[in-house]
Symmetry: C2
Subunit: 192 residues, 2 copies
DNA sequence: ACAATTATTAGACTGAAGTCCACATACCAA
DNA sequence: TTGGTATGTGGACTTCAGTCTAATAATTGT
């Protein structure tokens, strides 16, 4: 399923893909997502515009893949370190994610916006970005519950939605998303 | 501040404004926000395109004003009815908001997306749509706290962010936003 | 060597957003 | 009535996303 037989035919130019992703990342971080055009990325990569369309449907598809490809950015699992409380684990995980986001929060906002205009991109974004982080937090909260650090009548799925929702809500409304928010969230989840 | 002196000059045609808002609402509900062009709205309203730009900067500005103008839609305050628990009040308020949103959730998603591409629209959207609803919930939670229905160590502002965040997160990810979500949110906020 | 197949390229083309302009129109005040 | 001022109208123009096409290039199998 992954490797196609594909005998015959000119092979895709992998250097072109790499150049496009690199150019996209550079231009978006330099000028901001909205101010970079498809044509500009292709030109900077030294490639025809159609070559970009051969691989990605939209600028959002390209930027998403470029941001999350080899590097496991934003993907660090919260570890169950001995001696660290569940609350501290949650706070540390959120603080780490939020710090990374302060680097390119504008791009993430732009990708969320793009997802509202393109159902297939919304699905890809959910699968590659949203759901993994949601599951990390749900897992952490379930572990806290089995350890007795979170009351049995709390709902880990709903709490995870609260946590990520608070983050999206703040980010999309231009409000601060930083270590202070991580602390406040962890405090509210692990009340008492 | 509201009434301008404006002596001299041709007065703005209020019928044109009304026709533009009506046409925008009708077309957006018929075809969906993304599939309606500015030129189409102007044509349906029987006015020149420039007349639309004289009043609003973007389609989002026009649609926001059209949706929230005279009608107090989405604006019903949660009442402190005698005999109704705080939890039931919250659930009823959320269920009402979510029901309205099922009518035009797509448009709200499109407006949130537009806010990510236009800082001045983001500010207007926050002021007219986001903040009022956030404050309604915060007020309700503070009242619950003074009545002893919510523990003193809970943080009403953070909880309100949780609640609205959960709603945004679900909506923007294409997940259900309905009475069931209202129930789950109210249950998680008023634990025990 | 040659045919089949697929990728790349340059360019044309459409549709939409947004800006700009010249001219017509409506209102006010002197 | 006349001049000042601001809006309405139609159209030209630029930029960009997205689609399409014809020609060319690279690879495989015969």
């Amino acid at each position: 399923m992954t490797e196609k037989p594909a005998s015959g035919g000119r092979p895709p130019n992998e250097q072109a893909s790499a150049a496009l992703k690199a150019a996209a990342l550079r231009l978006v971080s330099e000028k901001g997502y909205a101010k970079v055009s498809i044509a500009e990325i292709a030109k900077a990569a030294g490639v025809a515009r159609q070559t970009l369309y051969n691989r990605w449907n939209t600028k959002a598809d390209l930027v998403l893949e470029a941001m999350f490809e080899e590097t496991g950015r934003y993907a660090a699992e919260p570890l169950d370190q001995a001696g660290e409380s569940c609350r501290a684990q949650l706070e540390a995980f959120l603080a780490q994610v939020f710090t990374h986001l302060s680097q390119d929060g504008d791009t993430v906002c732009a990708l969320i916006a793009a997802a509202q205009q393109d159902a297939s991109f919304r699905a890809a974004f959910f699968r590659r970005f949203v759901r993994p982080r949601e599951e990390m937090v749900t897992t952490l909260l379930r572990r806290a519950q089995t350890q007795g650090k979170l009351a049995q009548d709390r709902n880990p799925e709903m709490l995870s939605t609260f946590i990520h929702g608070a983050f999206w809500y703040r980010l999309l409304n231009g409000q601060p998303v930083n270590a202070g928010l991580a602390r406040d969230i962890a405090a509210e989840v692990f009340t008492r």
